[in-house]
Symmetry: C2
Subunit: 592 residues, 2 copies
Amino acid sequence: MPSYIAPTKDMQFVLHDVLKASTQDISGYDEIDRDFTGAVLEEAGRMASEVLHPLNVVGDREGCVLENGVVRTPTGFKAAFDQVRDGGWTALDCDTEYGGQGLPYLMHTAVGEILSSSNMAFNMYQGLTHGAYSAIHAHGTDAQKQKWLPKLTTCEWTGTMNLTEPHCGTDLGLMRTKAEPHDDGSYKITGQKIFISAGDHDMADNIVHLVLAKIAGGPEGIKGVSLFIVPKIMVDDDGNLGALNDVSVGKIEEKMGIHGNSTCVMNYDGATGYLLGEAHKGMRAMFTMMNEARLGVGLQGYAQAEIAYQNALAYALDRLQGRDVTGVKNPDGPADPLIVHPDIRRNLMDQKSFVEGARAFVFWGAMMIDRAHRNEDKDADGLISLLTPVIKGFLTDKGYEMATNAQQVYGGHGYIEEWGMSQFVRDARIAQIYEGANGVQALDLVGRKLALDGGKHVMAFFDMVKTFCKDNAEDETLKAGFLEPLKAASKDLQAAGMYFMQQGMKNPNAALSGSYDFMHLFGHVCLGLMWARMAQAAGSKLGEAGADRDFLDAKIATGRYYMARQLPATGMHLARIQTGSETVMALEPTAF
Amino acid sequence: MPSYIAPTKDMQFVLHDVLKASTQDISGYDEIDRDFTGAVLEEAGRMASEVLHPLNVVGDREGCVLENGVVRTPTGFKAAFDQVRDGGWTALDCDTEYGGQGLPYLMHTAVGEILSSSNMAFNMYQGLTHGAYSAIHAHGTDAQKQKWLPKLTTCEWTGTMNLTEPHCGTDLGLMRTKAEPHDDGSYKITGQKIFISAGDHDMADNIVHLVLAKIAGGPEGIKGVSLFIVPKIMVDDDGNLGALNDVSVGKIEEKMGIHGNSTCVMNYDGATGYLLGEAHKGMRAMFTMMNEARLGVGLQGYAQAEIAYQNALAYALDRLQGRDVTGVKNPDGPADPLIVHPDIRRNLMDQKSFVEGARAFVFWGAMMIDRAHRNEDKDADGLISLLTPVIKGFLTDKGYEMATNAQQVYGGHGYIEEWGMSQFVRDARIAQIYEGANGVQALDLVGRKLALDGGKHVMAFFDMVKTFCKDNAEDETLKAGFLEPLKAASKDLQAAGMYFMQQGMKNPNAALSGSYDFMHLFGHVCLGLMWARMAQAAGSKLGEAGADRDFLDAKIATGRYYMARQLPATGMHLARIQTGSETVMALEPTAF
């Protein structure tokens, strides 16, 4: 059976030694000092290890069951959800006006990693609720906020997002769900939505569905889409629950993973809904939540890699098989532990260097979101908008790859469900698909984000890398294996960007043919930058009295591994990109 | 629901236009002319589409069930197995002396792709039987051959391979299963074996287990391991079935995939076994089958990618979503098909160029096995021994990756079991693990095969590439996008080999730290060579009267894609390799 221990030491290192969170000039950041975040993360970690993680395999095996129109969650989920709710874990960064604790989004993110690693499917119930909370908080009227937010903050009611229909996912302009106005200002919602995570369950008193639909007579296509609040159970003006709304679960989907989360087909049969935000501006309302939601999915990618890595490492230290070719390491045993073998070491280092780099990347991204929202910083908003598809696409692709590699350490046992490694792979897989499939992320990056505000933000990113290298040119730690690889990788990224610009208008397919490689190239540069920053922080801490030398040395060595072994991928991605669209588009569809 | 159509045209192209099989000076190859192989492959394809593939999802959903000590296979499996047996499909390359058809292994391989693509779990029952057949054929006494082979040839009895024990897989020297001699020359076998594919089932009259065990008093470790024939039901000298042997199924493992195949824990409680081959030379007996078995697993890797690709392509042609940025392609529809989008095209081309290249590689490998066995050609034997870990490791890694990419084309539907794409991924996953996990393949390649016969075979491989490039230096097709990338990739491979040689004795970890990258680098060069050969063949056929221009042009274009988009990976692998063991081994096990 797998286990999980929250990597709080690594998290604290990122929060305080690398990002220096509590000294940032971001509103509210002075609260999150080292002691405070340490206490919160330890407590979250305890709950994750003791309560949530043991239910991970239960959720996978039992799944959710639809009985008499109502979804039953796996054994133990309800009691655990009560515990999460009662502990205030769902309200960390919610507005104090609606019962939240008003902490930074960064804090929500750090805790989110722990909850997601320990039980991804379970954590989605509150994850979706947080999304619904954010949408109503950003776009609701005062009355709507008063009515819905307090219960969403506490997860007494949970939320969902209803976008996809059977015939449209990415291309939501094809949507058929319709909204017809009632005389009282509400709407009658009719249509079918699919892939609705947490669509129904037995852990909350009500479910608040956010549903995209087209108001009859509105503009064609994507410009005619509006967003509605559609409760499972009607709520009166005093907040009392009333009759059931005309919403029902068509079925629960059988999925490859995240079995503990109910993925529902939802039928809206003339259900009562309330317009959220402006009519026909539904997509804009969704987009304001997108950076957060996609960062949350990127987090899921590396969070699954983290728990998979923890268990692969434990197995590699424990399992005796073969002998170290350079000399026996365990003379009293029948064989040496797996970890003596260089290829096992390579595999573990790939996982470790990815997960730690990804964590720094996501925490940094969360800090940018706080800076954008709390300080209304447009530059931070632009930069995180640029990096969001990289966080989502690159980290989920690599997260799945690393979970697969962790499974590989187990040999045949990795393929047996009893050992738990398969679940990490199967669960991680969804993160590459939902919240915009990774190909769509790459399209968003190259087709929209690169040129955003005249290319200002990508230039700012390059400047940041350049400035970092310049400012730290004499750093002894960074001189050995960090600065040169980072500069080379950044140069590859710039060359790719330049190639897209040159092709740009005359051949959009040349840029789009390289979009996926560009997303990965960008991801490597970001992780390279994160590793350089971590190494710099570790190097400077090494000089302090009482420094944890083993921890800091390991951090630097792990970074050096990433720079030496992972960053060479940038040259490959650039070479592919520079071949343009010629070979990609050479075959007519009929010639495949 | 997914579907499958055997790619017989592509197969015929490889067999006859590229490999020119029927004109090879290999004993028995004159029989397999274009008409003959065409008829056989079409018939196999019909059976695969109509009988085996519809049972693929049935096998996945129902799995195998252990009831009262006996394994029940999924609905329809037994009837289908009868059909396969009655059609003579299990006997294609078996010795005519024992009821086989005596066709080349190449023919068995081509048919094997079809059977494996259409239903991997099902095809394993006869795949394991074929392995047992080969072991007894190679190492059995005449009496043993007469007794066991005819029934294994027809699959009236099936076979298994029993190597792994709970505490040892790769390191079989730790084995505990013991064999004690009886007075009559047979042995008493006692121990537990795990991960036994096709360990028990209801589709054959008897099961012939090949079991590795240690004869009491023999040498320590791997040198004391012997191989035994242990039937499920005792067989008398006249071939009549008698009493049950002391063999039982402990349980069926719950796995990530290949649910249609029963993976059993087998308990041998003093079962009667017969020594196969020499005492204490059991590993040698297993090794003689290894090239075939591992080529078969490499085949499984790309065969799953093939069926996943077929279905991804169908979906990309059918699903309407978004518009072509260069101009609407489907003006009468609400959107254009997915295939208009460059990133979808990139994904499909990755899959297509891999699968077709892999097929050529495996068929070429099968031809080498025939040359080695039928012509007793030592050079062919050496070359296929060298390439076997590449075929197994590279093709299964890529097969899984490509099946995952095919699943990605489906977006959210790819994650839903109903659509069938998840099964291809889950089934493909095992091929990276069994028959020697891919890390072990890389170790075998770098640690043993490179230096085999003084490095003669790797030199022969380089010569082959060089000669090909020289002989075709003026080929118009190859000049455009094939020769230069192939030379560059081959140069990277040579540089990596040189690096290993230089490090060699003084630092074995430097070579072993790069072994996995080397396996992939080698794989890319092999597929590059295959694509160059296919392009050369297609190019020269283009000049023939009545040539199928569309097919041949597509072949060349697909090859060009591989050379431009996949071969740049060799530079990345070389760069990683050349960093040696320093960063890989930097952390002490306790510092992870």
